[in-house]
């Protein structure tokens, strides 16, 4: 589905100050960076206050866009400014406000704010409280910058800052070697994706002459430019548009943890839980999905009616494969956060597949609902960890529904939303949209099968997790206790949204899709009468319930001790081992990429020490040789010559001095000789 091109209206007041939305948290971050650690209250207030301001402005912007939509006039407002000018060429940056940006802004600000409030409680015992809020604010600002950016360059800059803050926050407890390594891994892995992203940007700029996405018809993803890109061939049967789209998608693969660049996400759980919730569940990883949605026109141009472009096909398959791959691994993990991490990867795969199969609205809807219930799950996991005195192994928990009822209740809601339990949970409706699009995909039914299978797995592993953590009996140390109000309140709010958001995306009233695609939304319950839709809904509901029952059968109240095998491990170790070891992907990278890199580093070091170092040493040796030669010449010839001359002069002087021996007779003799000589000469000359 291609977004209709609406005339770009003049920027309204809210769009004029839209830049405040990312600027406020960034400024807050800067101020907090200058504070000393004891000023915790002030730092937290500043962070939460700035994000509240951003939320307020986002709501106003959303309202503005909504009003425009309600009027039937689509809103896309742009504000551009020139950043650098070299001669005639100028680098323009800018921001835009349209429905896509508006919903994303509200989601990021809301979820972010709730997590900030949660963090006040969660990080209360940490001594680096202010540093935490400094980085979190910076992240929030950068993420919001990605959302509103109209220029690929500005987007990339904010993208990189987001990556930076992710690194800083994953390695927040940098004294832990595992945390430092995980941060490095995250940064390097996403970097691999970013290289392709940058290549895509450069290519786009070179072909369209502008980095702005929308610019009064001249933007790089507006029809004029797209038509040009479509006609250029880029090899492998792709047009330039498709190739650029795939390059940009590569960036999203890194950031959103798709196969094969997913390896950093599970390790990123080394960071504090609020970080995992905000960055690695709700927002940063969603940035990749948002990016694909943003440049969707690039990916979708040239599609035959009813068919798909090469770029979208690739995206769909990658997404579907990731969804199943990660879900399989999640079954065999024992760390509460790691299960959720793999779940996130899996759901991101769903989102990507949704974008490829059904378009922007389908994928974005799942992104929005996922943000809420995944944040809820992570915060709930954080609450569990906090209550179990920093225990993260699910085999050492159990029976928490009694000890931590609020957490259990909200966590249960989140779990059901994630599984896609029918009707009342938002996850059901968003996943439904994806499955419907998959079923209707003419290119292949493969993604559909994969996604259905993935839904089954999702229900299974979430049930496993719930039964380990909340059912059975307590296997940990000390006594578990419920978390304080400052932590459970955000959980409640998020739980509410996890349920309520489903309403805006049901087929009966597809408000979300209408809003994004800019056509009126009609409320029509008769949609449910449609046979195919009913079948699909029933089928997916059955799958979910089946998965839950299956999971309960295997795990239920059993609560195996850590020393005993997991149920699957005991019955089917051939299945368990590869799943538990995450399909050995990390190990594969270790022996290929990393090993190569280490070898290359050794080679470079050898060259540095033995070639360049040798050259330097040789030059130095030559210089010392030269110095020695100089010294030899100086001492031997110059000094020696000089000394010798002085000696000779001295000797000569000595010789001459002998004529002045002070003895009269010597002088007389000389006189006589002189006289003789003179007379002789005289006489000789006077010869006749």
């Amino acid at each position: 589905m291609i977004l209709e091109v609406t005339p770009q209206s003049a920027a309204s007041q809210i769009t004029g100050v839209l830049w405040l939305i990312p600027a406020a948290p960034i400024v807050a971050s800067g101020v907090i960076a200058l504070l000393k650690q004891p000023h915790r209250k002030f730092a937290a207030t500043l962070a939460i206050g700035s994000l509240s301001l951003s939320l307020l402005l986002s709501l106003i912007a959303f309202g503005h866009v909504f009003a425009g939509w309600a009027r039937g006039a689509g809103v896309r407002e742009i504000v551009d400014f020139t950043w650098i000018q070299f001669g005639g060429a100028r680098v323009a940056l800018g921001w835009l406000l349209d429905p896509l940006a508006a919903v994303m802004l509200v989601m990021v600000c809301l979820v972010g704010l709730l997590i900030f409030i949660y963090s006040v409680g969660y990080m209360a015992h940490d001594e680096n409280f202010t540093r935490f809020f400094c980085f979190m604010s910076l992240f929030a600002g950068a993420m919001l910058g990605v959302v509103i950016s109209n220029s690929m360059l500005l987007l990339f800059m904010c993208w990189e800052i987001v990556g930076l803050t992710s690194y800083l926050l994953i390695g927040f407890w940098y004294q832990k070697p595992s945390a430092a390594a995980a941060a490095k891994k995250a940064f390097v892995t996403t970097r691999v994706g970013d290289i392709f992203f940058l290549l895509g940007i450069v290519w786009l700029f070179s072909q369209t002459g502008t980095l702005l996405l929308y610019h009064r018809g001249l933007g790089s993803i507006e029809p004029l430019a797209l038509a040009v890109l479509l006609t250029q061939h880029a090899g492998l049967g792709l047009s330039a548009a498709g190739a650029i789209g795939l390059l940009i998608f590569a960036g999203a693969v890194g950031k959103s943890g798709q196969l094969p660049l997913h390896v950093w996400l599970p390790d990123a759980m080394e960071g504090p839980t609020p970080v995992s919730a905000l960055i690695h569940a709700a927002t940063m990883v969603a940035a990749g999905v948002y990016l694909v949605a943003r440049v969707y026109p690039l990916m979708s141009i040239g599609a035959a009616p009813g068919g798909s472009t090469a770029a979208l096909t690739v995206i769909t398959w990658v997404g579907a494969a990731t969804a199943v791959f990660a879900a399989l691994i999640a079954i065999a993990q024992n760390d509460i956060k790691r299960i959720l991490a793999y779940s996130t990867i899996s759901q991101l795969g769903y989102m990507m597949a949704g974008l490829g199969l059904g378009g922007v609205a389908v994928g974005m809807f799942h992104l929005i609902t996922h943000a809420f219930f995944k944040a809820l799950l992570f915060l709930g996991a954080g609450s569990v960890i906090h209550g179990c005195h920093d225990e993260q192994d699910i085999r050492r928990m159990g029976g928490l529904r009694v000890d931590m009822p609020l957490t259990f209740f909200t966590y249960g809601i989140g779990m059901l939303a994630l599984c896609g339990f029918p009707i009342f949970f938002s996850g059901f409706w968003s996943k439904e949209g994806i499955l419907e699009a998959a079923r209707g995909w003419d290119v292949s039914k493969g993604p559909f099968i994969l996604l259905i299978f993935g839904a089954l797995l999702t229900a299974f592993y979430m049930t496993r997790q719930i039964s380990y953590v909340f059912y059975g009996y307590w296997r940990g140390h000390d006594v578990a206790h419920e978390s304080p109000g400052v932590m459970t309140l955000p959980l409640a709010i998020l739980a509410f949204f996890a349920m309520a958001l489903g309403i805006i995306g049901t087929p009966a009233w597809p408000w979300f899709h209408a809003f994004l695609d800019n056509h009126p939304a009609k409320f029509d319950l008769h949609v449910f009468g449609e046979f195919n839709l009913l079948v699909l809904m029933t089928a997916s509901s059955l799958i979910v319930i089946l998965g839950i029952i299956f999971g309960w059968r295997v795990y239920g109240n059993k609560s195996p001790k850590p020393e005993t095998f997991d149920a699957i491990e005991a019955s089917a170790p051939w299945l368990w081992t590869p799943l538990h070891n995450r399909f050995y992907v990390d190990e594969l990278y270790g022996v290929t990429v990393i090993a190569f890199y280490k070898w290359w580093a050794r080679v470079a070091d050898w060259i540095d020490r033995h070639v360049w170092g040798a050259i330097v040493a040789d030059v130095a040796w030559l210089f010392s040789l030269w110095a020695r030669l100089n010294r030899f010449l100086d001492v031997g010839w110059v000094d020696g010559g000089f000394d010798k001359t002085c000696e000779e002069i001295s000797e000569g002087g000595g010789l001459l001095a002998r004529t002045e021996d002070g003895r009269v007779q010597t002088y007389l003799r000389i006189l006589a000789v002189a006289v003789v000589v003179l007379v002789a000469i005289l006489l000789w000359s006077a010869r006749p």
């Binding site: 021996d661 002070g662 003895r663 009269v664 007389l668």
Partner: protein, 107 residues
């Protein structure tokens, strides 16, 4: 050899020989007084030369040679006096009359 028979040459040769002897003495003897003696001999040889030329010259009545010789004698006497006085003075200071040892002006 015709010129050799003339008396003048003879006198001149005697004077030359005396001069050379005086010079030899002045150059080879160690004692300062002997050097002065040698000098006196040299002066006398010169005087002889003068008188010989006066005698055998074209105008003997001009008295030039005679006067020269007389004055030379007078000056020689004065010089001998001063010279010997010097020798005595040096002897007093350095207790020696050996010329080899009187080399304070060396260098």
């Amino acid at each position: 050899m015709t010129g050799f028979a003339s008396p003048l040459a003879g006198y001149l040769l005697v004077a030359a020989l005396l001069f050379a002897i005086g010079l030899a003495g002045a150059l080879t003897r160690r004692n300062a007084i002997l050097v002065l003696i040698g000098i006196e001999l040299m002066l006398n040889a010169a005087n002889l030369n003068l008188i010989a030329f006066w005698r055998f010259g074209p105008h003997p009545e001009a008295l030039t040679g005679m006067m020269f010789a007389i004055f030379s004698i007078a000056v020689a006497a004065a010089e001998a006096a001063v010279g010997l006085g010097l020798v005595i003075s040096i002897y007093r200071h350095t207790s020696t009359t050996e010329l080899d040892k009187i080399n304070r002006l060396k260098g």
